[in-house]
Amino acid sequence: MASLAAAQVQEVRSITRIERIGAHSHIRGLGLDDALEPRAISQGMVGQKMARKAAGVILQMIREGKIAGRAVLLAGQPGTGKTAIAMGLAQALGPDTPFTSMAGSEIYSLEMSKTEALTQAIRKSIGIRIKEESEIIEGEVVEVVVERAAGGGGARSGRLTLKTTDMETNYDMGTKMIDSLLKEKVQAGDVITIDKATGKINKLGRSFARARDYDATGQQARFVQCPEGELQKRKEVVHTVTLHEVDVINSRTHGFLALFSGDTGEIKSEIREQINSKVAEWREEGKAEMIPGVLFIDEAHMLDIECFSFLNRALESETAPVVIMATNRGITRIRGTNYKSPHGIPLDLLDRMIIVPTTPYSHQELREILNIRCEEEDCQMSADALTVLTRVATETSLRYAIQLITTASLVAKRRKATEVSMEDVKKVYSLFLDEHRSEQFLKEYQDEFMFNDGSGDASQLMEVSQ
């Protein structure tokens, strides 16, 4: 009996796959109430009330969808929650609004020009809602099998068995499909629809037949009937596609060449113009609806002067999304020039932006953030350990303190303790240097490092001689 119970517990654990925890995975929204007033601690957000309030106003502007091509700059010191606010905004907007997140340095590539990369990013941030008839597979999942080819790293193959009350079919899946199935955490007993053309998976709920099977399904599980009739149906569905996706569909070379062409590459401007006019036509006829989204450019100071002037122009277009940039620079050189400017962004673009500042966190707020991170990283921490950690965060940086959470919990685990104590934190504090202490150390022992013997000239000589 006991072994049976143990087996069941095992099964429950295997159902909920462990997700990886990212730096901002604790953020679930902006933490605003209905009147868009920021709550002190909510949805993973702490402090930064003014910036969050400003983000709330921007959120409202995006939701209304009327105003195109506005730019917002989040400016603040490192570790003051600029990216967190952008992530929170994305979460608050919901999955139907396109939100493209990129880093400023992503545009530099050998395969694509800078402006092409920016144009693609801009067009990825504009959605079109359109009704289209498409092939839908709708059924209850009987089995999902994912096999990895022997030898590791090779291609994966997947098989999916679906059924309705009248039939049952096996499907073969490609790698993309396997990934999205795993992402949606599809398991046996779920009733799902798959759009055959786009591969989009929609979970309708769990089958009634499985209602008694698991206690682990949770309260939010919705129970639905197993579908009837054929698995594959033609249905009119409302799609949300981005302008970029429409570009890609229309620019693919077909036939023999399709075998060799890669994913996208550069898209001709004629095709874009054609699509713009087509979309305008659809909108006039009421067939489609435009959903302007958000383009978020992190580390915006990494863009160069050409990109900035391109953005100046691009923002004036009717079909421009709201562009949010984040930077942690003060007055610095604009990349690609010798001029200095606030945030490393030229004044004419700055003039078109609204600037939202973020300020360093207070002692109490740091404690709250660390507490939230401890929960997110599944780590029990004693009160005095948290106090020490907060002090570390005030004296060094928040990021360094967050790094210490999991490391300290691993140290605690090694001595078989359930809770992280102050000693554990002290131990990892001595094991891992923060940036400041590392600098101190370097200054002290600089002479003993490579290429540092004697004056600066000598080191240069050595490099040249190599």
């Binding site: 079919t169 899946m173 077909h254």
Partner: protein
Amino acid sequence: MKRKFCVIDKIESREQNFDKLKDFLSKGDVEKMYRKTIWYNSLLNAEKTCLKDEKIKKIHYKFEDGREMVEEYNVDTKVLLRRAWKMKGKLGGEGKWSVEIGDPIPETTPNADAISIVESKDQPVVLKRNTRINIEWRIRNLPYPIETYSIKAQNDQKLIIISTSNKKYYKKLEVPELVRLGLSIDQMHIDATHKYNTLIITYKKPQQLLDMEREWYAELDKIKPIKDIPNECQTQ
């Protein structure tokens, strides 16, 4: 070929004496009913191009509403071998051919990344064939014995529905040929056999359809085939 037609005539007359009687009364009208259908007229009005390739005659139709269709006829037997429609996506892009009758067009092997989800190779596939007197569906990879299947004509939705007692297979078959002429599906004309893991369903073509097909083939003879066939595929 002539003999076959006579056979059908006999069966028809035995089964539908009443219809035969009506034919006698207003023979011209009823027999040529198909001429009034939207389908026949759209065929007449379509822009047609013809290609002749030894034993096969290919006709490309461009309809007034912008749709495209291709038919392939065997020149000797005058039987339609394949009919395919061009499916255009709403978002644009090059459309795919969807085959209504005949063997599917073999696709160039797509790379494994591109395919998202397809039926496994061992799953049932429906093939629709056109013969002189029958419309025929062949469903391969169906191992269950003949008693498993129930095949019913459903006239509300103009479908033939195949279901299985073991709940493994279910399929709605459309019969656009009959729908286009406004004819109903008759359970009497449906026949099924099961052999070599294949379920073969045949539907005897009604006289109206046979007449129309015969007349339409004669009509197609009026179209001049294009002389300059691209012969890059031929050897030498």
